[in-house]
């Protein structure tokens, strides 16, 4: 078992959000108010800053910034996930188990608050299969499951959030929140298993 470098995940996630900004913005403009790319990139930039200035772990910084400073609905919901992962990573069990437990706890919190189920075209569609895969499999399986879950949102109508107002018109492209989650698990896998080949969740068409 290797150690899990939280700081590397934070920094690579921040870089990935810079690369994904245009694609996430375009996805969110199809169905929401178009601010998800800004919120994710801005939150990650602020989290890197908070981490460098503070004494806590990288996921603590992520949780604090996304809960307190990031706008939109999805920002603080991601903050709940990061906070649960931070708590789990601090518990001392091995990183894969801890990340799995934190992800499950974060998923549960997000579902209590947002009341979204799998199939509602939200970030839960990527997070739920990733949580299952972390428990039954490993990092690469979780990344693949999150990517598959995000891809599948292309065929879904939204039942929650602003995207629910535009009905069938959101179909044909994935939910940006789900893609953001897939990005996190892709980054986590590339840090935890540098030798594994894990496909990026970004389509690259606009990136």
């Amino acid at each position: 078992m290797t150690t899990f470098d939280q700081e590397a995940v934070l920094r690579r996630f921040a870089r990935a959000a810079e690369d994904a900004h245009a694609e996430l913005t375009e996805l969110d403009q199809r169905s929401g108010d178009g601010d998800f790319g800004d919120n994710l990139r801005g939150g990650l930039r602020a989290a890197v800053q908070r981490f460098e200035d503070g004494s806590g772990g990288a996921f603590d910084a992520l949780g604090e910034v996304f809960l307190d400073e990031v706008g939109g609905t999805s920002g603080p919901l991601l903050g709940l996930l990061f906070t649960e992962i931070a708590h789990a990573l601090a518990s001392g069990t091995d990183p894969l188990t801890a990340f799995g437990e934190g992800t499950r706890a974060g998923l549960a919190a997000i579902q209590r608050v947002g009341e979204a189920r799998v199939g509602d075209r939200t970030l839960v569609d990527a997070l739920s299969p990733a949580a299952d895969a972390l428990v039954g499999g490993g990092w690469a399986e979780a990344a693949a499951a999150a990517k598959e879950g995000a891809d599948l949102t292309s065929g879904l109508r939204a039942r929650m959030g602003r995207a629910s107002y535009v009905g069938e018109r959101v179909k044909g492209a994935p939910d940006p929140g789900a893609v953001g989650i897939a990005l996190l698990f892709w980054v986590a896998a590339t840090v935890a298993e540098p030798d594994a080949s894990v496909p990026s969740p970004l389509s690259g068409v606009t990136g």
Partner: protein
């Protein structure tokens, strides 16, 4: 249209919060970052902190109901926008009693999510939290959407009853269950003759011709599903009473009624309407044991009113008449059955 008299360009909420806190310095304290207000006094028997909040533009709700006998802390959002979860979190930390915190939340997606996130954070800090959802607006009753009825005028009734119940020393679970019963026994309906002035354009947010009435309007300028030609007040009240009484779940015949101005309606009009409402309720066999007439839950300066009925169980009656020492809840809510002269 004349623009509103806000102190300066920009967000009108912070100066209003400061002015409110100065005007009621004996009752409330303001914390500006993140913005929340707390009551200075609470009954020592109270074990659960009562916290509410929501968009601004509905003054005196919620800050006007801070104080002994009602709320312990509130989180005011920007105009018509949910407060941020960190405001709710800060308000809840201040309010928490030995048995935790009860959130009183009007049923809007943003409020539900932000109070929900704050609740998760409070649980991580070891503070017990429950939620009472207020969803009284019959105009939004539909089997087709998952969002449910909006929360409107019944919020004042729920907050009053919960405050007095909390002062009997009840625990969190009991209070949460009671709050759900209070909200469940309440239904409302609102009408408007003129939209509120838009903060952005200085003009009415939607157009109504003379002689038109928005029937089933929301408190954020959400248009109703129907615009009808305006009936005389007698006919209008009758129609609204029919709908609200029909929408109320079965229960006792004693009711609390709220005739609430939406911001641009005079007390002269509201009391005249209440005369019609009281007579109409008596004709329907309902006994008015408590009435609130005034502007409690407005939509900025919208012209119109909402009508709320709550079926009051006998055991709830003392909670309605118990004194509340707050900036905005009328202190004399006792029914006038025991006249002294």
């Amino acid at each position: 249209m004349a623009p509103p008299l806000h102190p300066a360009d920009g967000d009108p909420v912070p100066p209003a919060l400061r002015g409110f806190a100065k005007a009621h310095a004996d009752l409330v304290r303001l914390h500006e970052d993140p913005a929340h207000l707390v009551a200075r006094h609470r009954d020592p028997a109270r074990r659960v902190g009562l916290v509410s909040g929501g968009g601004s533009g509905h003054e005196p709700m919620h800050a006007g109901f801070l104080g002994r006998g009602m709320l312990d802390a509130v989180a005011p959002g920007k105009v018509f926008a949910s407060p941020h979860n960190k405001q709710v979190l800060a308000a809840s930390r201040h309010a928490a009693g030995p048995d935790g915190v009860l959130h009183v939340v009007k049923n809007y997606t943003g409020d539900r999510i932000n109070f929900g996130i704050a609740a998760e954070r409070l649980r991580l800090e070891g503070i017990e939290v429950r939620r009472v959802l207020v969803d009284d607006d019959l105009a939004t009753e539909s089997d087709e959407t998952a969002t449910g009825r909006r929360g409107t005028g019944a919020t004042v009734v729920v907050e009053k009853l919960l405050g007095a119940a909390a002062d009997t020393g009840l625990g969190l679970d009991d209070l949460a269950a009671l709050g759900a019963e209070f909200a469940g026994a309440s239904r409302s309906l609102a009408v408007a003759t003129r939209a509120q002035t838009s903060m952005h354009t200085g003009r009415p947010s939607f157009a109504l011709e003379d002689g038109e009435l928005e029937y089933g309007v929301g408190i954020h300028g959400e248009r109703a599903q129907r615009t009808i030609s305006r009936p005389p007040a007698e006919e209008l009240v009758d129609r609204m009473l029919d709908e609200v009484v029909a929408g109320l779940p079965a229960g006792p015949d004693e009711v609390v009624v709220v005739v609430n101005g939406l911001g641009g309606t005079t007390l002269l009009e509201l009391y005249g309407l209440h005369d019609l409402v009281s007579d109409g309720l008596a004709r329907r066999g309902l006994d008015v044991v408590g009435a609130l007439v005034g502007t409690f839950v407005p939509a900025l300066d919208m012209a119109g009113f909402s009508l709320t009925l709550t079926r009051l169980r006998p055991s709830w009656k003392p909670w309605w008449t118990a004194p509340a020492i707050t900036p905005a809840f009328p202190r004399s809510t006792a029914p006038t059955t025991e006249e002294t002269r």
